[in-house]
Amino acid sequence: MLALLPQLVVSGTSTGMLYALIALSMTVAYRATTVVNFGHGDMVAAGAYAVFVFGLGFGLPFLIAMTLAIALLFTAGFAAQRLLLQPIVAGPHLSLAMMALAIGYTVRGALRLEWGNETINPLRPYPQDAYLFGNIVVTTDDVVIGGCVLLLLAALFLLFQVTPLGKVIQATFQSQRGAALVGINVPLFHALMWGGGAALGAIGGVMLSLITPLTPDLGQWTLIQGFAAMTLGGFGSLGGAVAGGILLGITEKLLGFYINTVFIEITGYLVPILVLMLRPQGLFGRRAVLRV
């Protein structure tokens, strides 16, 4: 039994990388705007469908299709924030959450209208293969997804920690009024970060389209897994989103193998419930829960 442990950790990490990417894309938009995007799962699904349309529909090479899909989602996220969220940004939190939800619902409806009756097979524009390291099997999927996520992580880490933009992000997250006072164009910045979050989500969607069949309801599952990873790592923490995602992937494989396979399906539901009850700040987040 224990001999399989390294294998489970490796394949769990591979799935977890995907969760990490989705949680990270949600965290970026949340950090900038302090609005949780309940429509984000559908943005990810839209990204997956976009790469399918550009790649198979228009017959473009995969990398170009991917670039176009990311650009499309960036524009959509930017426009959604500018046109729909900015007008009500001063309103109650409830309206903002509902607006995000409604946007996602609209996207899902559009996807179902076009592709409701078909299941689209995974794209896999590279040969499928498996490599043996000792007694651990690593598939091409693991390598491609792991590699892409690691690259993105490095780029984002640099962006947030080293560049001036990172400081702007941090400043706006801490105090929007203060950021505005020192000359940061907060609304434009919010729109940019929503675009950025949607673009990152699109990359997650592209990764998903490589390995899973696409259905219009893909966004539901994505949203829950992303939330689970975010709460596990701590809301708003970028490192936490990544650690939470990977930990979620490993946990679900370990529980699934050693206890019962049903845990593969429900870990994503149980984790946010348990974490928010027992340790609301997650592993790396700050405490931000109201008590009366």
Binding site: A97, M99, Y105, R108, I224
Partner: protein, 314 residues
Amino acid sequence: MKGRRAFWLLPLALLPVPLLLNPYQQYVLNTALLYVPVGIGFNLVVGNLGLLAFSNVAYFGLGAYTSGVLMVQIGLPWWLTVIPAALMGGAGGAIASIPALRGVRLFYLAIMTLAFGELMRWTYIRWESLTGGSMGMAVPTATLFGWALDTDRRRFYVFLALVVLIVAITDRLLRSRFGRAFLAIKDNEIAAAAMGIPTDRYIVLAFAWGGAVVGVGGAMLAISVGHLTPVSFDLTELIRQFAIIMVGGLASLAGAIVGAVIITAAPQVFISFPGFDELVFGLLIVLVILFLPRGLASLLARLHPAFVERYYRD
């Protein structure tokens, strides 16, 4: 407030309506009726209490499956399963209020309750011996004191009676000190607690009554559709219910009614295009939030003061 008594004319006016409808239209009207309690229960927590609890489909499913399972496994007549369905829905609501009592708020609460709803849906899929799994379960014909509710027209009168009862009780509840406490909690929870309002007790009560009412809606769904599947309680359904209160009007009984009718009737127009209803409702919610934050019910309130509800302040 005098004009309020005229509202009793609405159910009276509905009594002869089945004579004008064909069976399909009757089925749509029944569906609209069963979504009225669903909207009322959701609105109580999200609108009146102002808490982002997204587990409405959990209570809906609990009510529907409780009714269905009791009829199939024990052979109870439908009318005897309505109370258990309400109790199970209420229990679901009470469970969903636990994180709220522990101080979880905003989207944290939304995420937890969302996960709770999905966990329940997974339970219906997995507990195959009771629920029939993802293939679903057939619900036998309902009876009321031995009278078979085998047509949509017969079910209509039972549904109408239940809905009137639920609307009347909830209206009383909201206009009593309970409703005022909800309003105080929504406006400022800390201030409400400081004024001596036992906020925890009222939060549990709102969740439990909301859940119970939605559970009755579930019991109505069980016999109206005659076949229960877990898909009926997924996130897409949650957003449809959500559309009811957003489009109809937050914290408004009239809003839940108007929303239920629109969200049920509108998809029938484009039923042959799956996905189109989601597209339209999504856009509808967007437009309502942008231009009519209190929903369509606020248009009614502009028409006549009797429609002004005191459960909410801007």
